[in-house]
Amino acid sequence: MRIEVELNGGPLAIEADPGETLLEVLRRTGSVSVKDGCSRGDCGSCAVLLDGQAVTACMLFAVQADGHRITTTEGLADGEGLHPVQRALLDAGGVQCGFCTPGVMMAALDLLDRDPDPSEHDIRVALAGNLCRCTGYVKIVDGVRDAAALLREGDDG
């Protein structure tokens, strides 16, 4: 089946099998920041923004994304300049192995879009679906908090 989406600001037309997940199609077409950690919606590594909302791409058929706007980590940095959420997570020490990081950033962006000044608890609730085995979450939470501050200061990268 042919689907058409807006991926990171540009049009994309893909042939997808009816049974293929959005995760499989995105990775197959080069958006490999979207990670497969469990294939069943438990770990959050494959989170992408679908019309601005974080969803696990392994839990959607690709055809369900037809006509929608998708953002992945590939779409965040502006040339050489990192997006504030990328910079803040990195500088706070919220990136260890980095495998969960793209999904974490999607959940963070979803939150910061709704709430520019979240509390630590708000951040923890927003990231509850993103499993990280490396950090213990302290520095991920700090990174999201710092990203919020950067975005409030009007730093758009």
Partner: protein, 775 residues
């Protein structure tokens, strides 16, 4: 946060941006399975055993092979029969060589039966279901007690020379004795006798095992693998497939977490053989279920601790008896079990009479392996719970009892020599121990004096506070080796090539910082290449908390050699003696301010006078393994109505020597704690009466998420290890040892109920509370 850094370093001790950071946060294709698939790549799927113990009478692969797009089916009938161990350890591996690529017998639910290579993952999986296997189901051995029983089925009835006693299911045995522990216990004024039992846990790297193989244009086999041990993987694959080592190149790209489970050579042999047989590139990525069940786990252990002490609280005797369940194969069985003693007993070196006895038993259950903590986690659980029980019996504060007995700078223990890694150990004298400071700052931050014994109650929730202290090592002395090569480029930058394996900890950054510090250049001028058996010098890999200390020493030595060569050229330019020059700010300078840039030095050496490449390679094998130390303090709340445990506050103070990168070091502590807290409270493979794990996904195998943990507080105390690179020792493993004893001690403080069996699920805690009449 770190206490005041000494400020004597320019790069070390600073939270530099990671060398791989930008690639990671921009989602570049840096992990094994991210690279664009080469043309005609085959995808592998595994068929695994549904039985805990069975012999394969016959296997029919014809229907799978007949499927269009299936290129190859591997079974015991068409693969090498060499016995080997998947344990990625140094040569010769101190684990029994009891495995075959595919065996005629399966020994646990999840054991390999066959592999299918096909044009797509879906096709390979479909084909795997078409393989027909005729099993003769055998009686399984489903516990350590069953393994020891008279007439127990023999898991490795094919015989295994280097297992301790395969006929009686004993994979490994070790003992270490100092003094006469039985006499000392009999004479002791106060004794305790505590037995704890730990369960099956899995590492859960968020990236499952992944490997690809392809033939390069010269016919060499290139394996890209999510491995912690590229050099061991190359050696072991060569041996299993009977290939010369020089035919194989192993590359480790970025790694999505390892924690020990990627110190096993679990899938590289399959992609390698597939590519050799078909000439086509091949790929295998574990499913999450395979990662949980077919990969490796933490060895469950039964640990009995007997302590003897004087009335004043001085330990007189420690007896540690360990029964370890190594599961179907003996990977790391001897060394993990020995570590339960060697990383536990020296911490309390006041007792002159000490004994360790350990046996590792084969069962038809999932396979134990290397897992962060490596036996210390299980041994220290028993010890730290026993210490609290002894304190109660003495009527002494548990903190005070620890303070009276723990090892200090200048101290030693006979265990260091008696109990090594698969052989005799190496004598050690502690050259840095800031444990007293860790205990002091941790106790103050958590409010030990006010909260301990207070049993604050909030409805049905009762609060308690617990502590535990820990040690680990920094590499395996006289065994672990790291090497580094550095060369100077025309612009004053350097290439740093290291065999060391960054498994997501940031060790490429840490090792780069050490080189930058010695050479007086910023980190961005150090171009780090790591973990490629063709391009980097040897390193044993990422395990045993060795990288910062052992590989870091190699980097420091190589950098010092290069620094000397730079000074020699600079001295010729400046017409001074090399000894008058110091390196810093990318220049070699005299005390009176004359200087030359490293770029000028490089240009002269490459294009000018006396042309040569400024470069050096250095190795490190150390006879020291200074332990890091750590004190953890937990406040927990126990719901006496449901048995639920909530972590209210957690404070950890650690002594890792110089923290080369404090934020990464804190992250190691926090990550290890989170992993350990999950294991202590909720993670469980939940193995049923037939030996099958029920927790085969991350919904049921519950690791800690953001809402399961408080904001973990970490303090790195000021410390300097004189034998370490820039004063550093290790930090990556130690934290995982704290949660089990710390939580058990806190629950005891809250309720008076001692939890000795893990995990501390609400149901288990509720039953224990009910049995004790706690309401």
């Amino acid at each position: 946060m770190a206490e005041s850094m000494t400020g004597k370093f320019e790069v070390v001790g600073h939270n530099e941006r990671r060398v791989d950071g930008t690639a990671l946060v921009t989602g570049k294709p840096v992990f094994v399975d991210d690279a664009p698939p080469p043309p005609r790549m085959l995808h592998l799927a595994l068929l695994t055993s549904p039985h805990a113990h069975a012999r394969i009478r016959a296997i029919d692969t014809s229907r799978a092979e007949a499927l269009d797009g299936v290129a190859l089916v591997l079974t015991h009938e068409n693969t090498p029969t060499t016995r080997y161990t998947t344990a990625g350890q140094g040569y010769p591996e101190p684990s029994p060589h009891d495995a075959r690529m595919f065996d005629t017998k399966v020994r646990f639910v999840g054991d390999r039966v066959a592999a299918v290579a096909a044009d797509s993952v879906a096709l390979a999986r479909e084909a795997a279901t078409l393989i027909e296997v005729d099993y003769e189901v055998l009686e399984p051995v489903l516990s350590i007690d069953a393994a020891l029983g008279d007439g127990a089925p023999v898991v490795h009835d094919q015989g295994c020379d280097d297992a301790w006693d395969a006929e009686h299911n004993i994979a490994a045995y070790s003992e270490a004795v100092a003094g006469d522990v039985e006499t000392a216990l009999a004479a002791a004024e106060v004794t305790v006798d505590v037995t704890v039992e730990t369960h099956y846990g899995q590492h859960v790297p968020i990236e499952p095992h992944a490997a690809r193989a392809e033939l390069d244009p010269h016919g060499r086999l290139v394996i890209t693998s999510s491995t912690q041990v590229p050099f061991h993987a190359r050696r072991i694959v060569a041996s299993v497939l009977d290939l010369p080592v020089h035919r194989i190149r192993v590359i480790k790209p970025r790694l999505g977490g390892g924690f020990g489970v990627k110190q096993e050579v679990l899938i590289e042999d399959l992609v390698a053989l597939t590519t050799l047989r078909t000439g086509r590139p091949s790929s295998l990525v574990y499913t999450r279920e395979q990662e949980l069940v077919s990969a490796r786990t933490r060895h469950p252990m039964r640990v009995r601790v007997r302590l003897g002490a004087d009335r004043d609280g001085t330990l007189t005797a420690i007896d540690l008896d360990v029964l370890s369940n190594t599961g179907a194969y003996g990977t790391h069985s001897l060394t993990v079990m020995s570590n339960a003693g060697s990383k536990t007993l020296p911490l309390y070196n006041t007792a002159p009479d000490v004994r360790f006895v350990g046996r590792a038993l084969y069962t038809n259950l999932p396979v134990g392996g290397a897992y962060r903590g490596y036996g210390a986690t299980q041994g220290q659980f028993g010890m730290e719970v026993a210490i609290d029980q002894l304190a109660e019996r003495l009527g002494m504060d548990a903190l005070e009892l620890r303070t009276r007995n723990h090892i200090r700078t200048g101290g030693t223990s006979p265990i260091f020599k008696e109990l090594g890694e698969g052989r005799e150990g190496v004598e050690q004298v502690i050259t840095s121990c800031e444990l007293p400071r860790c205990i002091e700052v941790g106790a103050e931050r958590i409010g030990w004096a006010e909260k301990r014994g207070a049993r604050r109650r909030d409805g049905s929730w009762v609060h308690g506070i617990g502590m535990s202290i820990h040690m680990q090592g920094s590499g395996i002395p006289m065994i672990d080796m790291g090497a580094a090569s550095i060369k100077l480029n025309d612009d004053g930058s350097v290439n740093l090539a290291i065999g060391a394996t960054d498994l997501g900890t940031g060790s490429d950054t840490v090792l780069g910082q050490i080189a930058a510090e010695v050479l007086g250049i910023p980190l961005e001028k150090v171009l780090v290449i790591s973990s490629d058996t063709d391009l980097t010098p040897f390193d044993v890999g990422a395990y045993a908390s060795s990288t910062t200390y052992v590989s870091g020493t190699a980097v420091q030595r190589a950098a010092e050699d290069v620094a000397g060569q730079i000074r020699a050229v600079a001295a010729a330019i400046l017409r001074v003696d090399p000894s008058e020059l110091t390196l810093g700010h990318e220049r070699a300078a005299t005390e009176d301010g004359r200087s030359v840039s490293l770029a000028e030095v490089a240009l002269r050496s490459l294009y000018g006078v006396d042309q040569h490449q400024i470069a050096a390679t250095a190795s490190a094998v150390l006879d020291t393994s200074p332990p890091p130390f750590l004190a953890s303090f937990a406040e927990v709340a126990v719901d006496v109505e449901t048995g639920a445990i909530r972590i209210v506050d957690w404070v950890t103070a650690a002594d890792c020597g110089t923290a080369i990168h404090p934020r990464l070091a804190e992250g190691q502590v926090e990550g290890a704690l989170a992993n350990g807290i999950g294991y202590a409270l909720t993670e469980d493979l939940a193995i049923d009466a037939t030996g099958r794990a029920r927790a085969t996904d991350l919904g049921r195998y519950k690791i800690a998420g953001t809402l399961d943990l408080p904001r973990l507080q970490t303090i790195l105390v000021d410390s300097y290890e004189p034998t370490g690179p820039m004063g550093a020792k290790s930090i990556a493993e130690i934290g995982i040892n704290a949660p089990m004893p710390c939580i058990a001690n806190a629950v005891y403080d809250a309720t008076g109920v001692l939890l000795t069996e893990t995990p501390f699920t609400a149901e288990r805690v509720w039953r224990a509370l009910q049995a004790a009449g706690v309401r």
